[in-house]
């Protein structure tokens, strides 16, 4: 496995300088590996993990179950791609089970998200039905616990 990919997948939050030390490579080599991953479309980009619940301008987020009609030749892909291209859509997955696509959307207000669903998403040809669930509260985001007090673990400073 690409050593940089391994470090990234672990979510260790390291700078490239730190990655260089951990992997025992030069910083230039780390950059080269990163560039390779980017070219291979494995590494898609950086994005901060945020808890915006305390921010007044916090986004409204929803999960939407979407049933669509598969197409001859392309299956679900063409419609999934088309839906994914909306800025409101943060993630989009093809699912097994009772519906086809699960999409995560975000918008500045409940109305904006609702209108995205009613006016844009559900009117796309091939979309059979949608079921929207608004998120009320986040407890864990991208591997980070939210709200749980970060108590010091009380590890002694020196121990035998």
């Amino acid at each position: 496995m690409n050593p940089v990919l391994k470090l990234l997948a672990e979510g260790g939050n390291l700078s490239t300088a730190q990655m260089a030390q951990v992997a025992g490579l030069s910083q230039a080599e780390i950059e080269r590996h990163l560039e390779q991953l980017r070219q291979d479309k494995v590494f898609l980009g950086w994005r901060a993990v945020l808890d915006l619940s305390r921010e007044a301008s916090a986004a409204v987020r929803a999960v939407i179950e979407v049933k669509i009609t598969p197409e001859r030749g392309g299956g679900f892909n063409r419609l999934a791609d088309r839906i994914s291209r909306f800025d409101e859509v943060e993630s989009c997955y093809l699912m097994s089970g009772g519906y086809d696509l699960l999409i995560f959307v975000a918008g500045p207000s409940l109305q904006k998200v609702a209108s995205f669903v009613s006016e844009r998403l559900s009117t796309i040809e091939g979309v059979l039905s949608t079921s929207t669930h608004f998120m009320l509260r986040s407890y864990k985001e991208g591997g980070y616990l939210i709200g749980a007090p970060a108590e010091p673990t009380g590890r002694l400073k020196v121990a035998p």
């Binding site: 030390q21 951990v22 590890r155 400073k157 035998p160």
Partner: protein, 393 residues
């Protein structure tokens, strides 16, 4: 005349305070210290193990257990030891669950040692070895290990230290503080010597999951050894469960029975919640061990490389999570080095002499610390060592 100290038993008065203690007092008062002085994992106990302890509490698991420990846990221990160490112990009679390996060592020594019996142990070693022998009224005899061997234990050195009256050989491989281990050939010679001199071996294998090259072999697997070895192990290091305080001893039923007598009248049993957590660790925790070991190995490679680059000669420890570099090149004693580093750069390492006379000229730097702290600590150590070199010029 009214000095309460006069009540204290002679052998306790004479015990030296742990060499880490006074250093710890200083570090504890300082803020912003990066500590490489901690002999425990930085990982919290995996959540499923903690959750099992909570669940046990909810189910009302608040009673004494058998003196030997929960039978389900002993069965799991027996299976784990068979799988990873190729040693067969019967859960009903050959296994006892203790309050950390520390208690297992204490029980073993108290069960085996008559006043004046001699106990061989290799040093530098864990701080409690020598005092444990003294507390059991035995006489501790140190066997030197050396940096040029990667602090492996040599049968020749044991033979040199041996004298009439030696009954017990205590071993800790991989070793805290040196990370030293023994290859099969070395162990075979030690086993032969133990058989020849009719020694009983206390083999503390607490770091045995954390071996990075070559795998781990228990001395108990060699011919004639199982009947003269107490295999001591626990959950603190590999499963990151130090605060749960669960260890165990496996060995011949007669010896486990003798240890159980001491345990029964002193500790009664290990805490049940911690035993339940330990059971969960054995049933579903092996992936956690591998995940943490991988991290330790990478950190080891990092710190050993950086220490050597900084001019502190450091062997590559094959096991445990400690680097044990020589600070001889700085011209300082290990104590002056550690205090100087703490004062100048706020990095805590432990002076090697705290672990025995052969630790002079070395310091112990634990790499059970996250990457950010570790790389920062390495930068600071490098700066400190360069500063010392500049001063000498």
């Amino acid at each position: 005349m009214n000095d309460p100290k006069r009540y204290i038993a002679r052998h306790v008065v004479d015990l030296p305070k742990s060499g880490i203690r006074d250093f710890f007092e200083i570090v504890a008062k300082m803020s912003d210290v990066i500590s490489l002085g901690i002999g425990e994992p930085d990982f919290d106990t995996p959540w499923h193990i903690r959750e099992a302890a909570i669940y046990a509490l909810e189910r009302g698991k608040t009673h004494y257990t058998s003196n030997l420990g929960l039978i389900e846990l002993r069965r799991a221990i027996s299976a784990y030891v068979a799988k990873h160490y190729q040693l067969a112990y019967r859960p009903e009679s050959d296994v006892i669950v203790t309050v950390g390996v520390s208690e297992a060592i204490d029980l073993a020594l108290r069960a085996l040692v008559d006043p004046g019996d001699k106990v061989l142990f290799h040093e530098p070693c864990y701080v409690s070895y020598h005092p444990s022998v003294t507390l059991a009224h035995g006489q501790a005899i140190g066997v030197t290990t050396r940096a040029q061997d990667g602090f492996a234990l040599n049968a020749e050195d044991i033979a040199r230290a041996w004298e009439p009256g030696c009954k017990v050989l205590m071993m800790n491989l991989p070793c805290n503080p040196t990370g030293g281990t023994c290859d099969r050939e070395r162990l075979e010679k030690i086993a032969k010597f133990a058989v020849e001199k009719d020694l009983i071996v206390l083999s503390d294998e607490i770091y045995s999951e954390l071996v990075y090259e070559g795998g781990h072999v228990s001395i108990a697997t060699f011919p004639g050894m199982k009947e003269r070895t107490l295999f001591l192990h626990g959950f603190s290091k590999a499963f990151a469960m130090t605060g749960f305080r669960i260890g165990y001893a496996c060995g011949p039923a007669e010896l486990v029975e003798a240890m159980m007598k001491v345990h029964q009248y002193s500790m009664l049993c290990a805490p049940i919640l911690a035993q339940e957590a330990a059971l969960e660790a054995l049933l579903r925790g092996e992936d956690d061990v591998l995940r943490m070991r991988e991290q330790y190995q990478r950190r080891r490679d990092l710190i050993v490389r950086r220490l050597n680059e900084a001019g502190l000669a450091c062997h590559l420890p094959r096991g445990a999570f400690y680097a044990f570099p020589s600070i001889a090149a700085t011209g300082l004693s290990e104590r002056d080095f550690a205090y100087g580093l703490l004062e100048a750069e706020k990095v805590a390492v432990v002076p090697g002499a705290a672990f025995g006379p052969s630790g002079r000229g070395f310091v112990r730097a634990s790499f059970a610390t996250g990457y950010t702290q570790l790389t920062e600590a390495c930068d600071r150590i490098e700066r400190y060592v360069q500063g010392l070199a500049a001063k000498r010029r």
